[in-house]
């Protein structure tokens, strides 16, 4: 009776009601879905979070976007001087500066993404305790912001390639895949660390150390050809080894191309990422209470 009445009064409102989404709020239990569809629904927020990070990064800085170039270029100079010139580290027949710069690009992208994503939940505490949105957006958005720096620094690489007369081959088409692999590695590890960081704040102190350690075990300053052949596949357990080798292959065309090392890297990244996603989702429920 009463519902019929309201239908007469406002048929439009009634029709809207049919299409209203329904949310159920319950304690978390059982298997968790990854909620990737919801992530897609919030894509505009993802866009705005990335946009914010990029906008804010270089506000009130003197050199602005030049910072994106200064860091890798200085690293390259130092590496070329000490490792290339003085220590005479081999570089697979490629001029050492471009050899190392080509590896520094994905490395910086990865290191930046890892640092930012690990601290992202704590840094966005206000958002997390006051608004609902899929929490995954936070580490994901913090990683995407680094792409702008990457693109800027990439221009320098193109200039260097022209200077050294390195002509890219068709393998360059695989480059986006390697960029994706670098970011997926950072996200996978970042998901674990960001969720842990909410609970245990000393995680953030380990990140600097972790990145240093990781840099030394990644073939940035030296070629992976230094690794004995039978250990090569095992070396792929460090996914950044696969990424750096992939970059050199795609851009400079000198090393051998995808092999067992890369396969191992891809598998490792997928495992870390899926594990990270599930761990993150499981911890998600208590972020707002603990952060």
């Amino acid at each position: 009776m009463s519902s019929a009445q309201s239908e007469i009064q406002n048929p439009q409102l009634e029709r809207v009601a049919e299409a209203l989404p329904v949310f159920f709020i319950k304690p978390e239990q059982g298997l968790i879905s990854l909620g990737l569809r919801e992530l897609w629904e919030y894509r505009e927020l993802l866009y705005f979070l990335v946009w914010r990070d990029i906008k804010v990064r270089y506000k009130q800085t003197v050199l602005g976007a030049a910072w994106a170039v200064i860091q890798p270029v200085f690293m390259m100079v130092v590496f070329s001087l000490f490792f290339g010139r003085l220590a005479r580290v081999p570089s697979d027949g490629i001029p050492y500066p471009i050899f190392v710069y080509c590896a520094l690009l994905p490395w910086q992208l990865f290191a930046h993404a890892l640092t930012e994503s690990s601290n992202s939940l704590v840094a966005n505490e206000r958002l997390i305790t006051k608004v609902y949105f899929p929490r995954l957006l936070v580490p994901v958005s913090s990683i995407l912001g680094g792409l702008v720096d990457f693109v800027i620094a990439f221009v320098i690489l193109l200039l260097m390639m022209a200077w050294y007369g390195v002509r890219p081959t068709w393998a360059i088409a695989a480059l986006p895949g390697f960029i994706l692999l670098a970011m997926a590695s950072a996200l996978g590890v970042g998901l674990w660390l960001s969720a842990l960081n909410v609970r245990y704040r000393d995680v953030r102190y380990t990140i600097g150390f972790l990145i240093q350690f990781w840099l030394l075990t990644t073939p940035v300053a030296y070629p992976s050809s230094l690794i004995p052949g039978r250990w090569r596949a095992l070396y792929g357990l460090n996914p950044m080894a696969g990424v750096v080798e992939g970059f050199r292959w795609a851009l400079l065309g000198k090393s051998e191309g995808p092999d067992a090392l890369l396969t191992v890297s891809v598998v490792v990244v997928i495992l870390i990422l899926i594990g990270g996603l599930y761990y993150f989702r499981r911890m998600e429920a208590e972020f707002a209470d603990v952060v």
């Binding site: 519902s3 309201s6 406002n10 409102l13 009634e14 009601a17 049919e18 209203l20 989404p21 329904v22 949310f23 159920f24 709020i25 319950k26 304690p27 978390e28 505009e44 927020l45 866009y47 705005f48 946009w51 914010r52 906008k55 804010v56 506000k59 009130q60 206000r126 958002l127 997390i128 305790t129 006051k130 608004v131 609902y132 949105f133 909410v198 609970r199 245990y200 704040r201 000393d202 995680v203 429920a285 208590e286 707002a288 209470d289 603990v290 952060v291």
Partner: protein, 436 residues
Amino acid sequence: MSSDVAIRCEGLSKRYRIGQQERYKALRDVIADTAAAPFRRLRSIVRSGNSANGNGSEIRNPQSASRNSHIWALDDVSFEVKRGEVVGIIGRNGAGKSTLLKILSRITKPTKGSAEIHGRVGSLLEVGTGFHPELTGRENIYLNGAILGMRKAEIDRQFDEIVAFAEVERFVDTPVKRYSSGMHVRLAFAVAAHLQPEILLIDEVLAVGDAAFQKKCLGKMGNVAREGRTVLFVSHNMQAMSQLADRCILLADGQTRFDGHTAQAVALYLGNETNAGAPLGQYTAPKEKVGNHISWARVHTSGAPGIHHWGGPISFEFGLRIVDPQESLCFAFNVRNSFHYNACYFWLFDSETKFGREPGTFILKCEVPKFRLYMGRYSLTAWLSERRGDTYFEIIRDICPFEVSMKNMPRDEYNWIPELSTYLEDGSWAPVRRVS
């Protein structure tokens, strides 16, 4: 049949560990704790062995006991809100109001119970969440809008309206960090006010901005309600509560104490809050009061003690104890209605009548020949302050409760109903003329 329900909660409960209030832990502490645990156990065994010989006290290890204790911030709360209903939530601090809103807006999960929400939810637990000081007003409108759940197209469409509502037209392209705090709050509220979900959850946002802006916000909220949206809001502003909500849920210690008509809920809440046993129309300072203070107060009403007949004479009398003489004392008091809303204000400066330049007790009496506040319950809030140094010696709230009755002004055709007006003005009607 259930399609007209917007929110349904069943047995919602949320438990917090007391220890959780220390927020995050350091991994270092966890390791140290684990390593120290055997020693702590050992020590407590030794200690309990000792005390068994002695006085046999039961205190084992108070620290570990408190660490395991929990608090139910929300305890078995059930209710249903129909589509288009505006429901207020009141209660003291820590009663569970914010926890309830946090659960309904999906920020945190309940420990027990469930809720069902029909429609998109916009929650406003804080004004200006996600505002970035380095970004301009324009940029922040987009960012904040997106965070609150608006689509970009929606923001585009309402952009000019938001800017106009916030009254920041000239500063849209200025970084927000250069804004005054008032502008900041206005902009933040303006974005929030243009949020258009089916269900709005609002936590104490009316407590921002200057009075004029608050009024504007109240108006905007009223519109939202009239548009048929479902609103659930928390406020300590009882005036706003009774203007906006027909229904109110009173929470206490995480449980529903009352769910029903707003006026009743408010009365119940305020009744609990103020000292219900306070003697009608009078106040006497506690004996331990020192320094310059108000030692007593009386309201001389026109009716029985504590009852005032509308329009009759009333006087307010205060005894001031001056121990530390001052050059520029000021005494003032407010008459507040039962919604804690200031209805009248009276003041006296020492520069007009000396009362604070030598030690002693001074009697200040304020007489009002025709006191015309409308029927209802009132109380006084009094200040004693020193103007030059901006020192408050005393602020005492909600003393001398008294009631205004309309018994001497019966209206036979219509009975007086509560909250008809704040006061009744003297006025007379000119003879009615017929013009056609």
